[in-house]
Amino acid sequence: MTAPLLEVDGVVKRFGGFTALNRVTLHVKSGERFGLIGPNGSGKTTLINCISGALAPDGGRILFEGVDITAVAAHRRTRLGIVRTFQIPKPFSSMTVLENLHIPLEYAAHGRLHGATGSEAAAILRVIGLEAKAHLKPGGLTQIEMRKLELARALAARPKLLISDEAMAGLSSAEVDDILTILFRLNEQQITVIMIEHIMRAVMRFSERIVVLDAGERIAEGTPEEIVGNQAVEKAYLGE
């Protein structure tokens, strides 16, 4: 039995008097497809921010590959292999799609001195299905293409753990399938994926294991089937 890839151990995050995360503990195994769900304001994005390093937790520890990374800066976590996408796409708008990928290739995947190679960025765009847009600025992309750019850019950072924060919100049913196919394919390449999503159809199909957050607490964990039948989860989403 190998150690989990990611261990979140009793993480607490407060904003003033509001406790956004109350001793949340979860483990993600290497190669796993992991779902994180919960109603709005349950602390999902806060937890992702703590894992990626954008926020410093007020308590608890975060371990990646058995190493405590609680105090490690966000850009170093990216180099270690924890890469996230954003709920609202945040492209580098002055650069072309291809140049957007050069940043993580240069800064995260290879180290600055080796630089980025154009062929590598092009290969990633082919996998994602954005090669036709390589020389466009992000301003000229559609919503789904923007989401794909987020994923492509995250891939260019060579993730071991990819955190996909609501990559499908606002997309059509066919587009959701499109993104799901990409995520499945990435997972086949040994990339562990944490999916945060409101679209239940997608999370339930994708995840092998799901953790449910509600009001900053972990209220359930299990396979999709177990979660669907869970009383506490139903209550959290629908009320009594």
Partner: protein
């Protein structure tokens, strides 16, 4: 590296041309005005490393410029240090101030950062006004070293400023084309995303504020010998803040050549207006031109050229 060799050749050619022009000993006013234009090339280039590449708009240019100038005044007063020492020391002290405001970016972004830099300028001016040793509010006369090259100290300072401008522009060009420039562009576009893509945003911002501060201080260090009378109102003049921002905006902020174009155009126009119309016309010209560019060509002359090229091809 033919690229580096060509850069070196162009830089040397500009310096040589400066020396040649200086040795011609034409109308002294030309050197007087030329100094100001080259000084603005340094200032605009320095400002653009932080404002254009990293996207942090600094309204505190006068603070850095004056800090360089007053460091020089202090060293002239205390040990009569030679000009190269003044320039280096002025640069280093302003670089330290730059490092300081770099840490401000941890908490202040966008317009709040700009307001803080404006306040910085006022605080520093108040301190200088109350420091008698460097002249206080009355100011201080500085005696130029005797027997300068080219027969006149202003002509000599003109060649010095040409050299400094070449160094500043070369540095900016190098930064822009290196991994540092690409990282700065990423954090300008989106700081959070840049950090998540492995860009060490804090370190790059500290680098940008420090090098920008250094070059602004370098631009200010020869100032006491140029004017021979230093007082806070001229050293902390609002003109520096406005021009430092307007010149790159007019030329184009995304490339090293933008601030150079802006400084040459606007600097020359101001010098012309000063002698032909009135010295008060300076800021009026900047204001009108800046408004026109922000409305009609927000990406500056470089953006205009790019748009025209795109249309013709």
């Amino acid at each position: 590296m033919p690229q580096a060799a060509r850069t070196l050749a162009v830089g040397l050619a500009v310096v040589a041309a400066g020396i040649l022009i200086a040795s011609l000993r034409v109308n002294p006013y030309l050197y007087f005005a030329g100094y100001v234009i080259f000084q603005y090339i340094v200032i605009a280039t320095a400002w653009n490393i932080l404002g254009g590449y990293a996207g942090y708009v600094n309204f505190g240019t006068p603070a850095f410029f004056a800090l360089g100038a007053y460091t020089a005044v202090f060293l002239i007063q205390s040990i009569r240090a030679p000009l190269p020492v003044l320039i280096l020391a002025g640069g280093l002290v302003s670089a330290l101030l730059g490092l300081g405001i770099g840490y401000l970016t941890l908490r202040l972004r966008g317009v709040f950062f700009s307001i803080a830099t404006l306040a910085l300028s006022i605080v520093l001016q108040t301190m200088i006004i109350n420091w008698e040793y460097v002249g206080g509010s009355r100011g201080l006369s500085v005696i130029r070293p005797s027997s300068p090259p080219f027969g006149s100290y202003v002509t000599f300072l003109f060649t010095v400023m040409v050299l400094l401008a070449v160094l500043a522009v070369t540095a900016a060009r190098f930064i822009e084309r290196s991994w540092i420039g690409r990282g700065l562009a990423a954090l300008r576009d989106n700081e959070e995303a840049a950090e998540c893509m492995g860009v060490p945003t804090l370190r790059l911002k500290l680098f940008a504020t420090t090098i920008s501060g250094f070059l602004l201080g370098v631009a200010g260090a020869p100032f006491p010998y140029y004017v021979t009378f230093v007082e806070p109102n001229s050293a902390f003049n609002l003109d520096y803040a406005v021009n430092a921002l307007a010149m790159p905006m007019i030329g184009g902020t995304t490339s090293w050549i933008g601030p150079v174009i802006g400084a040459v155009l606007l600097g020359s126009a101001q010098q012309l207006a000063t002698v032909t119309i009135s010295s008060e016309m300076n800021l009026f010209i900047v204001g009108v031109v800046l408004v026109a560019f922000v409305v009609l060509a927000p990406e500056g002359i470089l953006g205009l050229v790019r748009r025209l090229r795109g249309r013709s091809s």
